[in-house]
């Protein structure tokens, strides 16, 4: 029973308490880039979840086989293979989404969430726990992307999931779907999360999420200054 409870905990922690984007501040690039529409946010989130699930399971299964010194290239190859795989699936079944995600689909390879989870969790835990962690983190990421996408689409285009929003549809605030609006929306959402959460999130992007923290000489000395 205790086992089950802890697995459930691995899943739910990613939603709010350790939300990878809004609390741990990882994976900023796709969060900002593809969230001009709520739909793209969901698509990107689910694609990332899939890659995360696959890579976490494989890395966790191979964690005793991969020598410590070459683990970074090994992880990269595993992750990149899953990204290629997802790319094929999306291209075949949802070509629209494939086109709108564009290069950012390839860039899932270097998403710090995936690398961070491989390094921090999958290489130290069993397969079941790693899979649950991946699902939790992935859905948390999807949730954050959906939130970002909804805010930007409603304000910037006056639409939401192909529904027109009354007043805003005639006078959309175009800035919100432009790059500048992405930074602004994310800043605002993180501020709201800061306000709501009792525990104070990290003030700066520290080394905790950096995939190279173990290899980097600066780690633990106050970050990458």
């Amino acid at each position: 029973m205790a086992e089950k409870k802890s697995l459930l905990n691995e899943i739910t922690k990613g939603f709010v308490k350790e939300n990878p984007t809004l609390v741990m501040l990882l994976g900023m690039c796709p969060t900002l880039a593809v969230t001009t529409q709520a739909k793209n946010g969901i698509g990107m989130g689910l694609a990332t979840t899939f890659v995360l699930l696959g890579s976490n399971i494989v890395i966790s299964a191979l964690r005793k086989v991969i020598p410590d010194k070459v683990r970074i290239p090994a992880f990269i190859v595993i992750i990149a293979s899953f990204v290629t795989f997802v790319g094929f699936i999306l291209e075949g079944f949802v070509p629209d989404l494939y086109d709108s995600l564009g290069i950012y689909l390839t860039l899932i390879t270097v998403n710090c969430i995936i690398f961070g989870r491989a390094e921090m969790f999958a290489s130290k835990n069993g397969i079941a726990a790693s899979a649950c962690d991946a699902i939790g983190m992935g859905l948390g990421f999807t949730l954050a992307l959906f939130l970002m996408g909804s805010v930007r689409e409603i304000l910037g285009a006056g639409q939401w999931m192909e529904m027109n929003i009354p007043v805003l549809h005639d006078n959309p605030m175009l800035l919100f779907i432009m790059p500048a609006g992405g930074f602004f929306t994310l800043g605002m959402i993180i501020a709201v999360v800061n306000k709501l959460s009792k525990k104070k999130p990290p003030e700066e992007l520290g080394c905790h999420g950096c995939p190279n923290a173990s290899a980097c000489a600066q780690a633990g000395k106050g970050g990458c200054e």
Binding site: P73, G87, E225
Partner: protein, 192 residues
């Protein structure tokens, strides 16, 4: 010649990698606190971008395309970049220790910088020639450097600002980035 110039300037300004394409946001927010580290990171990224393009372009057109293995692009590119960064780090350490001490610390961080993988993949996607690819990489790297250096100035000023408690740290930084991004929007339409 004119065409190359347009590629260079648009990669630097209108399609700035950080502020318009959202690539390399992590170092942009993480390493832009001080002017010196911002410059160091910017130069290191520019250097790696140029070299990575010079290495991946021949691999794509010389090995992958003739064997119809284009779909291995992602796997091969990221591996090449990772190995290359390692190589540069080792070489700098041995040959030019002075440069290593100023740039070396940023090199391991670059492997997983999406801007570097991004520029190599974009070069292939936009079917640039070799020279165009290199120019695009130079422009992208310089654009990254400019964005980081400008932003380090903005953040220096922000240290003295009286920011509401909720916005302290990352939210304020992101909103400042948004304003810098608006200023870069002024360049749009420059080459059309």
């Amino acid at each position: 010649m004119k065409e190359l110039f347009v590629i260079l300037l648009s990669a630097m300004l209108t399609d700035n990698f950080v502020l318009a394409k959202f690539m390399g946001i992590c170092p942009f927010l993480g390493v832009s606190k001080k002017f010196n580290s911002a410059t160091g990171m910017g130069i290191a990224v520019t250097f790696v971008m140029i070299c990575a393009t010079a290495v991946t372009y021949p691999i794509h057109h010389g090995i992958l395309v003739p064997n119809e293995l284009e779909y291995f692009d992602t796997v091969v590119f990221i591996l090449v970049i990772a190995l290359f960064v390692q190589l540069v780090e080792t070489m700098l350490k041995k040959c030019i220790p002075a440069l290593y001490s100023s740039l070396g610390v940023y090199l391991p961080l670059i492997t997983t910088n999406c801007a570097v993988l991004g520029v190599t993949v974009l070069n292939i996607d936009s079917s640039f020639s070799f020279v165009q690819s290199i120019v695009n990489a130079v422009g992208a790297g310089l654009g990254f450097l400019i964005a980081l250096v400008i932003f380090s100035g903005v953040r220096k000023k922000m240290e003295y600002a009286d920011i509401p408690e909720t916005f302290k740290g990352v939210p304020a930084t992101l909103i400042a980035a948004s304003i810098v991004s608006v200023s870069f929007m002024g360049f749009s339409g420059l080459f059309s």
